[in-house]
Subunit: 189 residues, 2 copies
């Protein structure tokens, strides 16, 4: 019986937030700047997100959801090497397509402002846990904690994305080299 909220406006706010958070940092990106970059009034931002912290958490959740979406055609039944490589490539695709998102994710993770549920493992991580277990068997790392292996994998992928962002011309070789290193580490060659 009333005016509905607009998904477009909500998305515009989230997109503007990514830009400003990446460029200025969480504590230095005012909600007023975010709303004006999104093309809405200051008050409007708060009908979509009750507080700035809620916006930050929601943004983090949305970014993770989109990663999950990107991984939709994950080859569940392929061998470990193929599955790991799939995640590796999709992750780097995303990082190149939206270089600011990675930065924002890192900022949010080290900000202490994320609720626990926002950080809960998503589909990709769950799948990686399983894959890591299998990879560990292959590499004789049976005793290793899968959580740790996933952390290492992510660290490598993020470092690679960071390097590629700074050296675009080395994109392909860095992807290959990076995965070679990861695979050597996990599976022992």
């Amino acid at each position: 019986m009333a005016r509905p909220r607009s998904d477009k406006k909500r998305q515009a706010i989230l997109d503007a937030a990514v830009e400003l958070l990446a460029d200025r940092g969480i504590g230095y990106a005012p909600t007023s700047a975010i709303s004006s970059a999104a093309g809405v009034a200051e008050g409007t931002l708060f009908t979509y997100f009750k507080t700035k912290d809620e916006l930050l958490n929601e943004l983090y959740r949305e970014m993770r959801k989109e990663i999950d979406r990107e991984m939709a055609d994950y080859p569940f039944s392929a061998d470990v090497h193929t599955r790991l490589r799939f995640v590796w490539d999709r992750f780097l695709d995303m990082a190149e397509k939206y270089p600011k998102r990675l930065k924002v994710q890192q900022q949010l993770r080290s900000s202490g402002r994320l609720l626990k549920d926002a950080e809960a493992p998503n589909m990709v991580i769950k799948e990686l846990l399983q894959t890591s277990r299998e990879g560990a068997e292959v590499g004789g790392l049976d005793g290793a904690s899968p959580e740790y292996l996933v952390l290492m994998f992510r660290a490598q992928a993020e470092a690679t994305a960071e390097f590629i962002a700074a050296h675009r011309e080395m994109e392909l070789e860095s992807r290959e080299l990076g995965f070679k290193l990861v695979w050597r580490a996990l599976a022992g060659q």
Copy 2:
């Protein structure tokens, strides 16, 4: 002919800054809270650091200097494996002794508030660059960019420190496993 500045007070301010930045985040740690945690007046903070940004940059530089100091007895003439392992262990020692510093370093690096000179490679990084080159030869990665290899090394070390912080009881095995992975990756077993 006048009252000298006190190294103790300067250090107290830097120490208090680490605590508050780690707990609250850069944009949410007011200088007033830092000065009072350090036991000095608000104005005093600004006789030691002209602005908050200068404090942040100085803090980052000091943390790097202390890492260099920690690496003072680096075994320059030992073999690659020994040297890498030395850096690995010292890094993790520091991370366990001062868990908040690592967090603050990550925050500062992703904050966009560091001047370029604060981020210039320090002694350890320069040494790691050289070591990585040699490690790459050992592992048949001769074409690889040493900068990239160093980035990967740091990423692994930070991930390991993070994991150990969350799982103290797995400290020793994580150190071993982590280095095993790094060495496998770099040198190919």
